[in-house]
Symmetry: C2
Subunit: 393 residues, 2 copies
């Protein structure tokens, strides 16, 4: 076997759809020697992490904890615990992650009723009302708050009352939004929500924070069938993370250390300040991209602060441009997914990656790379437009 | 909210059922800044990790990779991918983890046919032949190689031919054995196998190495139904970890860095030397425990090197003794699980934790704690017996 040498990765600036850059304090925390997962000291870490997660989720939900898998495991955990075979589930499909939810709903033996709008657009209360009218007794409605595949921001506050009027639960995918823009689980009436650690929480990937309110918990406790996943069965996980501390699996100790530290950093910055930072850097990047003639692709008025989808100009070689950004500038941006492959780039400004320096560098680098491919632009136009936004802020 | 302070855990000596202690090089590697999960540099890490896993599994299986969850996710991944509703599955139940497999088999809508022997004992080819005779057409036979709940070591070589004669697949739980005692996937005819990172690999918990041979892969590719778990669906995961690199979930980058480094350390030590180290430290600990009048609980001749289950003497307070070990000596050992709660202790000597120093310290500490509880023992008897084993080695 060929010998694998000492790990020596390049120092990347992570401006893709995640992972985002990780604060040195979180990296340092990862190297902390482990205690056992049932050690009283780790139980305290678990309690502190739950409290910190309640803070970022803006909830009092007792069942708020990190699932021991990535964001997709969080999606699956929410769906398999709440759904039983034969249930009707309404899913908003306007990108990759709504599509993924439909797949999981069907694997649960449930009936998925899809609402669809073009990728990059979002759903209105009217869309939902039509879907509710079209089905018999929906068990839940699932929407993506921040569609990472399109850069579209889905408003939630006006949706929740309609969902509850229909007697359904409201499930929200906040993988990319949590910690980067307002999300209020309790005030907005969200019954269950999942996220990931590697986006605006700026922790490495590997854990999926979830939160369930009492109504969702009641549905889980009143199931007629066992949850189809043993690993994601919340009736057992809630006892492992609850006061009983009943052994289920072995929690990823180091990753939980890291999450706790990433959440402490968020607490220190403050949610409001963090959101304003994400908004400001998005505004600056958007102005710069606009000046470069690169329009944002998501629906106007519904653009995410942490994930900017950009239409690739005609004649530009998508893969070559991304490769040059990576090789010459150490900058990672994301490709389009599915039907948007080759049509958009996805520029993430998430958590630690959302900085003024990164905005200015990304605009400069993009300008240089586009010009090399024969695209004409006034030198410095992108950076200048961004600087104007910062100056006005 | 109460403020969580800077993380400052005690420096534990982890002699429980896992996690084991982690080598400083692995801890240091965890703090490496991240690259994106689709970065060419991470793709190289993935390839190197697969090759290193093939080395520790002793296999040429192409589909050898770490699942993005803990060992239990590995168990679920093996079962949900190979089993369809209505299948007959033979499971050996002689501890917690066989019981867990039965639970998962039933959640798949399959029929579990259990073989049972008392906890701490193991299965003979005759046991299996009886079980095979009792069922119609078994899809697979699942056994636990190293039962972490009892300390029993299950021989596998004579089992595999019987399984294959019956037209079934042989699935093995190697969560605790991988990297600590011989395990030869190809030579022994194991079709699918899963493990965890936090036992004898001495990497933090969070990943589950799995390996599938062509026969197992054929079964997966010929399924009539979709795998019930999206997150653990190997038809998609094999494309993410394969040459296509089709996006599935976001791999836990830092944990994969750590696993790669832990595997490099194993390669440097050599498998044979590592096994001998585990065996020698087990022999010394067993001799010391014997001298203290603490007999090993698992079946004679079938005792694990990495997990020693010890009968707690009458009159000894289980919880108090473990608490004193933790508080006064910083030593973690494991409690008994299920029917063995209060009856045994589980002393792990896994990976980095399997050292002569830890054996001598554990014996000294146990002796002091037992004497405080009124248990009579010749001072130094345990350490002396262990030293004699090392001297003879």
């Amino acid at each position: 076997m060929e010998t694998a040498g000492e790990l020596a990765p390049s120092a990347r600036i992570l401006l893709g759809p995640g992972p985002s850059n990780v604060h040195p304090r979180v990296l340092k925390t990862l190297s902390t020697p482990l205690v056992g997962h049932l050690d009283p000291e780790f139980l305290r870490v678990m309690e502190e992490t739950k409290a910190l997660l309640r803070f970022v989720f803006q909830t009092k939900n007792a069942l708020t904890l990190p699932i021991s898998g990535t964001g997709s495991a969080g999606m699956e955990a929410c769906l398999v615990n709440l759904i039983e075979p034969g249930d009707e589930v309404i899913v908003g499909v306007n990108g990759v992650f709504g599509t993924r939810m439909v797949d999981i709903v069907e694997r649960c033996g449930a009936k998925a009723i899809t609402m669809e709008v073009p990728w990059g657009n979002v759903f209105t209360p009217n869309h939902l009302q039509d879907a509710l009218n079209s089905c018999h007794r929906p068990k839940l409605v699932a929407l993506v708050h921040a569609e990472t595949s399109t850069g579209a921001w889905q408003p939630l506050e006006e949706i929740a009352p309609l969902v509850h009027q229909a007697g359904a639960l409201f499930v929200v995918d906040a993988v990319t939004s949590l910690g980067g823009c307002p999300l209020q689980i309790d005030a907005w009436g969200i019954d269950a929500c999942y996220s990931g650690t590697q986006k605006c929480l700026s922790c490495p990937p590997g854990l999926a924070p979830v939160t369930f309110n009492q109504a969702a918990l009641d549905v889980i406790h009143e199931r007629k069938t066992k949850v189809q996943s043993w690993y994601l069965d919340l009736t057992m996980i809630e006892k492992y993370w609850g006061e009983e501390r009943v052994y289920h699996h072995t929690a990823p100790v180091s990753m939980n250390y890291a999450l706790r530290e990433a959440l402490r950093l968020i607490q220190e910055e403050g949610l409001e300040a963090r959101f304003r930072r994400h908004q400001r850097n998005h505004m600056a990047l958007a102005a710069g991209l606009n000046a470069l003639g690169l329009p944002l692709a998501a629906q106007e008025g519904h653009r995410l602060w942490m994930l900017n989808s950009v239409t690739i100009p005609p004649g530009i070689d998508d893969a070559a441009a991304r490769r040059q950004l990576l090789e010459n500038y150490n900058i990672e941006i994301g490709a389009g997914l599915g039907p948007l492959r080759g049509k958009i780039w996805r520029i993430g400004l998430m958590g630690e990656s959302s900085t003024r320096s990164n905005v200015l560098l990304a605009l400069s680098a993009l300008e240089e790379i586009l010009q090399k491919q024969g695209y004409r632009v006034t030198p410095g136009a992108g950076v200048g437009a961004a600087q104007a936004v910062y100056a006005a802020a």
